[in-house]
Amino acid sequence: MRSCVERLLAALALAGLASAGSAQVTAPDVLVRTVTLEVVGILSTDKEIQAGGRRKVIELIEAKVLPHFNFATMTALAMGQNWNRATAEQKKKLTEEFRLLLVRTYASAIMAYRDQKFEFRPLRAKATDTDVTVHVRVLQTGAQSIAIDYGMEKTASGWKAYDVMVGGVSLVANYRTEFNNVVREKGVDGLIKDLHAKNRALDPGAAERTK
């Protein structure tokens, strides 16, 4: 547990960084809308993707979506209290493996996309906010629309998503129990190993290429 003063300083530093880069940043709701529509546009026109080209989908995500996510924050949140017990090297490895896993999962999720309509809700936030939730709805027939909410924070390099909530299910919160269980049983290195094994099983080539 850090002292209050340290935390306060860290918060101030963060706020300082954010305001320094605030001159010309795309608003978070505009960012989400632009990226979503661009990706959906490619999904519904690309022949290779429509034929089930998984590799192409992963490339699309890495090029268009990943730059707008803060994976270090995501991993820290999913680790919860265990994050502070990890070494810098372990944190780096965890973030990389978690990033890989999320990209693979995300690829499967958007490959299930079939011309659903999106509704972008207006952002309810003050201009000075550095942590906002952007609300998107996916409309579908014969069922309640699905809410997709992005938790986003303002950083020196623009707004970055640190959590995605689908139908009220937070991705980072959902991984927290899983991560916690593995760390308690096998330690942080055990978790890195498990994530690595999972990624290899999903895509034997990918885990090697990132080394």
């Binding site: 860290a10 949140l77 994050w83 499967s108 299930a112 069922a143 309640q144 959902n174 927290r176």
Partner: protein, 258 residues
């Protein structure tokens, strides 16, 4: 209900319980002592049985349905059952003190049943009458009942003590069960289940990929989802508590300062 059928059910339940107890004994090593899930060993055993049942019957039947029945027809089937469900979604909205939503639900039912041809077309959504998601478990939640322990029900899957009570009422009042004629009734119940499973095929593939421990992942997602549904997508933020998805918001605030 005929007594013979009753006995058969009990015998089946006994066999299932015996199998589950066996599994629970074997699965003790994986129990993590989560306060929300005191029966984890037993639940994991039922979960394994459900997975087996799903592999042998659920997935193949749902997959076949997707292969054989064209997408527009599957939409009709989904809409047809969604329309019937709107009746009790309205009842539950009323019980939760949301009369405007209840009227919307019954308005949907009125329009979709007539102009929408027995509900196979969801024209009410085009008329900006929004579809809601309610059931008796959510109504109990709204009335202040907590989740209670997490329970994995045979076949039906994830639940809690509160939601199990809700599910019993959902089944008792299920309009599909009111259909006269046993064959028609069983056909409709089977068709609805098949369609629902087919709609979840992609989701279960994603679960397979995303989770380190499918049981834990599914349980936590279920508990988060129910909490969100009870509050119609806007659950209050919780400030204290050391674990569990419900406290995510405050922990996110914490971790970012570290």
């Amino acid at each position: 209900m005929k007594p013979t059928r009753h006995c058969g059910l009990i015998a089946r339940a006994r066999r299932l319980a015996a199998a589950a107890a066996l599994g629970a004994a074997a699965g003790c090593a994986t129990v993590n002592g989560d306060p929300r899930d005191p029966f984890e060993g037993f639940n994991r055993a039922v979960y394994t049985l459900n997975e087996g049942f799903d592999d042998v019957i659920g997935k193949p039947v749902a997959g076949g349905y997707r292969e054989i029945v064209p997408a527009p027809v599957r939409d009709w089937v989904r809409n047809f059952f969604a329309n019937i469900a709107d009746i009790f979604i309205g009842v539950n909205n009323l019980l939760q003190g949301k009369p405007v939503e209840a009227i919307q639900d019954w308005g949907r039912f009125a329009f979709n049943s007539t102009i929408g041809l027995f509900g196979i077309n969801d024209i009410a959504s085009d008329m900006e009458l929004e579809k809601h998601n309610e059931d008796f478990g959510q109504t109990f939640g709204r009335w202040g009942f907590g989740d209670g322990p997490y329970i994995v029900l045979p076949i039906l899957g994830s639940s809690t003590l509160r939601d199990t009570a809700g599910t019993v009422l959902d089944i008792i009042f299920d309009p599909v069960r009111q259909f006269k004629g046993k064959d028609a009734r069983y056909f409709l119940i089977g068709l609805r289940a098949t369609g629902q499973r087919a709609d979840l095929l992609a989701a279960s593939r994603i679960l397979e990929e995303a989770a380190l421990d499918k049981y834990v992942f599914q349980r936590d997602a279920y508990l988060q989802r129910r909490r969100s549904l009870i509050y119609d997508g806007e659950p209050p933020r919780e400030n204290h508590g050391s674990r569990g998805p419900a406290t995510a918001a405050s922990e996110i605030g914490d971790a970012k300062l570290r």
